[in-house]
Symmetry: C2
Subunit: 512 residues, 2 copies
């Protein structure tokens, strides 16, 4: 059947996996029964285990669901060490359910799939050799992609049942009190990992920094932890904060950032006490810089900044331009350090950040968000999952979640080299057009027609031409021509859940 | 049948209420399935309610279980205002399940029992007019008394299912982020209330101090809160910290405190990195003072202090003599203020503090605890629940929980006026003698014979005579004579659970 955004969802998947097809971005007021783990009681005296092999042998059995967090990003050491031990022990048929997968994990996951160790995956995203392998049909069962908020929801409602969570931490005491703020591998907020710590049947901390009892502040608590494994190295601190968080010097990106800033500051939401999420990425950081100036000029202060946090956002907190930072993840060392020192930077878990089935998540209170896109189509549907070749190379992250903001801005160039961004139909729908308000490109903006109010407010900003999205799509096509239609096989390699757990799209195996 | 400490437990209670009789203080390593609440989803925009009557009408129905916390102690205003509204609305057959009941609530509970509004109670304790009324058979069903750790356990395992929790807080934003640290009615740690916030079907905050969103640090989170009620006054701050926390000048109490200190400092546990819980009460505060000097003299520092926290303990933290304070409750303003300002004072919930069915509670890691007693018998069983007249006038509090410490000291005078403390058999067993190590009285100490090691270590302390507990009991009897045996009816008015949920004793209705 076709779902409400026109995507063909195979009937067998709807039936066999008991899925609903995506219908609406409205969550409403359902009653949701949460789940709770079984706890194996201990007085805490014998939690320390000296090797990864020992703990894997003790806890991991064929067919289990195991999880990891991705706060250590490209500096992560834990994932590969644990997975290697699992492969070595010949364990089979695991479901891998990390908060996300970073590039440093790719080759190990491919290896574990090939050895039969991993037969199911749910993640926020994947890239590189792993995305390529999955898109070419390596994994028997389709990957399930979930947003950060949806993963929290799925864990809280028992859709993801984690048997063993392996959580790398930069410090812990011997009974399992830990935080992300101190130690060589400090990465700040433990936001995503807090879900695993609360809900997994077994929680294993891995640390290179055993500290005296009791360790505080305790983001992860001794009451949640079964074992603490002492390892030589949790991660490479220099690569934790690397990646997407540089300031851009690209004139196109700067132009987009400037226009994003104009859209924000001319919107009705730019007033004292407003809130925003900018995320990482060159353009986003540039937006933060422009926004700072606009806030100073207009004597406007923000009530909170949300999401993955970067140093420029922390600077706004220090400057008093932002009153609170609600921090689910830190993208650089500056942001991580700040959480340690500034009590106004509150660590929040993924549920508080974005679970739609909640008594209010932070994203529900968000005014302005700037999000990226690999593709956006004339229905404002956004793809952040598959490339122009149809291959998986992205992550939902908080995209669907933060798009619930009052003003959701997609910041994207019309084209990237020979690759078109604004298209008639995105390859994969991740975030439905219903939740997107404005597209900002280097040539001008397009406003979602359903936002009549914004059409009026944003139509006469000097230097910000307004187009229909069809016009922007045409402009893009004029630059790079009409791309050849992609060819896929019938095999479904991935399911894209909307944040409420319904199916918004599927990804098919690419044809070589 | 008689349980392992020789108490007659009525068969119908064991059977009808599906109870086990108390067997052992050992908890072992059972697997325990926890429960989770149903969540009614909202985006948080409409949580503020303007009157208690409105919220009671909306949420409270006949037969429900409602809860409150007792952090505001004798200054609490919330309990009486909410209960009055419930009585006025004619609601019947409620189970009252607060973390404890303070004297300021007594008359209202009696009124609610008489009106048929409350027909069941579970609490840590009760005193005054309420204890008197219950002991005289006013309530149809027996009260269930649980320790703080046991209440946490019972909530986590679904034995207490709270339908609506009414939680007074000194600050909250409109979406329900709150802490106990700021505002006129600030009381510090929200430790007991955190259980209700996490597990109740509906969570209602009541505050006289609505603050801008988002309020941090958020001990209670917006994800847990259904409604926020604006009230004129949460409590009387001058009476929150009042009560038991004065320094004693009583020579008998000072003598006991001095001997307690000698016992601690001569024990094998008094070494660098030791931990302790002293609690409140005149003698306990005096112990802290002596202990401070002993720590200075011996250059010994404590790793943590635990439990209900007082200003003298906070002073040790400031002085560097204690490395961390693990804070489930604050007994005075000094302690509450300190939690706001000193990150080494960690707020902990009741589960982390003392739930026996845990992956380690703080009490499991405790070296030394000083506890009080209304009575202690020659089997070292302790009564902190019923008076010498058999009437309920006490609370389990953390007594059973903290008694799991490596060195559990009961500090109590031999007699109080004409009332004997050391008796052949306590009226009500709350904490089994198995978990008590040393009794300290003003004439000397008695060591539990099962602690051969301590018999040796503590036998030659100058100025600390050692007696058998039978000798102390005889000495007490010589002073005040043999008390007349109490007379009770056959009606069971209260059940005393051990911390694991088994029945350690029952309280019978007193005969007039």
């Amino acid at each position: 059947m076709k779902n409400r955004v026109g995507r063909e969802i195979p009937d067998d998947i709807l039936k066999d996996k008991n899925y609903k097809a995506f219908e609406t971005t409205e969550i409403g007021h359902p009653d949701k029964q949460r789940v709770a783990p079984i706890v194996t009681v201990t007085n805490g005296d014998n939690k320390v285990v000296n090797s990864i092999k020992e703990i894997v042998e003790k806890l991991v059995k064929d067919g289990m669901t195991i999880s990891f967090h991705h706060h250590l990003r490209e500096g992560d050491q834990i994932f590969n060490d644990v997975m290697q031990a699992i492969i070595d022990l010949g364990i089979k048929d695991l479901t891998l359910a990390p908060s996300s997968l970073t590039n440093v994990m790719n080759d190990m996951v491919v290896k574990a799939i090939k050895s039969g160790t991993i037969t199911n995956i749910t993640s926020s995203g994947m890239r590189g050799s792993l995305g390529d392998a999955v898109s070419h049909g390596l994994l028997k069962n389709p990957v399930v992609f979930r947003s950060h908020g949806n993963r929290a929801r799925a864990i809280e409602e028992g859709k993801i049942k984690i048997d063993v969570a392996f959580l790398g931490v930069p410090n812990s005491d011997e009974v399992g009190n830990a935080n992300g703020m101190e130690g060589d591998a400090a990465f700040g907020s433990l936001g995503y990992a807090l879900m695993d710590a609360q809900y997994a049947r077994r929680v294993v901390l891995l640390t290179d920094n055993l500290v005296p009892y009791p360790n505080t502040p305790a983001s992860i608590k001794q009451t949640q932890v079964d074992y603490v494994v002492k390892v030589a190295k949790v991660g490479d601190p220099d690569r934790i904060g690397s990646g997407a968080t540089r300031f851009t010097k690209d004139p196109k990106e700067l132009k987009i950032a400037q226009m994003v800033n104009e859209v924000i500051t001319h919107s009705p939401y730019f007033k004292d006490g407003f809130s925003f999420q900018t995320g990482s990425g060159g353009a986003a950081l540039a937006v933060t810089r422009y926004l700072r100036q606009a806030m100073l000029d207009n004597k406007i202060k923000a009530s909170f900044a949300l999401g993955g946090i970067t140093k420029p956002t922390v600077d706004l907190l220090e400057e008093g331009l932002v009153n609170k930072i609600m921090d689910v993840q830190d993208f650089d060392k500056g942001a991580a350090d700040s959480m340690k020192n500034n009590r106004k930077q509150q660590e929040i878990d993924a549920s508080w950040y974005a679970d739609p089935d909640n008594k209010a998540a932070m994203v529900d209170q968000l005014d302005v968000v700037i999000l990226s896109a690999l593709e956006i189509d004339t229905k404002f549907n956004v793809n952040v999952m598959t490339g122009s070749d149809g291959v998986i190379r992205g992550a939902i992250g908080g995209h669907q979640d933060a798009a619930t903001a009052k003003l959701t801005i997609i910041s994207a160039p019309l084209v990237r080299g020979r690759i078109v961004t604004v298209v008639p139909d995105v390859t994969t729908i991740v975030t439905p057009g219903d939740s997107i308000d404005v597209l900002v490109t280097e040539v001008g903006i397009a406003i979602n027609p359903k936002r009549h109010d914004l059409l009026e407010t944003l139509s006469n900003i000097p230097g910000v031409p307004v187009y229909t999205i069809e016009e922007l799509q045409q402009k893009a096509q004029q630059i790079v021509g009409k791309p050849k239609a992609l060819e896929f096989t019938d095999k479904t390699v991935a399911l894209i859940e909307y944040r409420d757990g319904s199916l918004i799209d599927v990804v098919k195996q690419v044809k070589d």
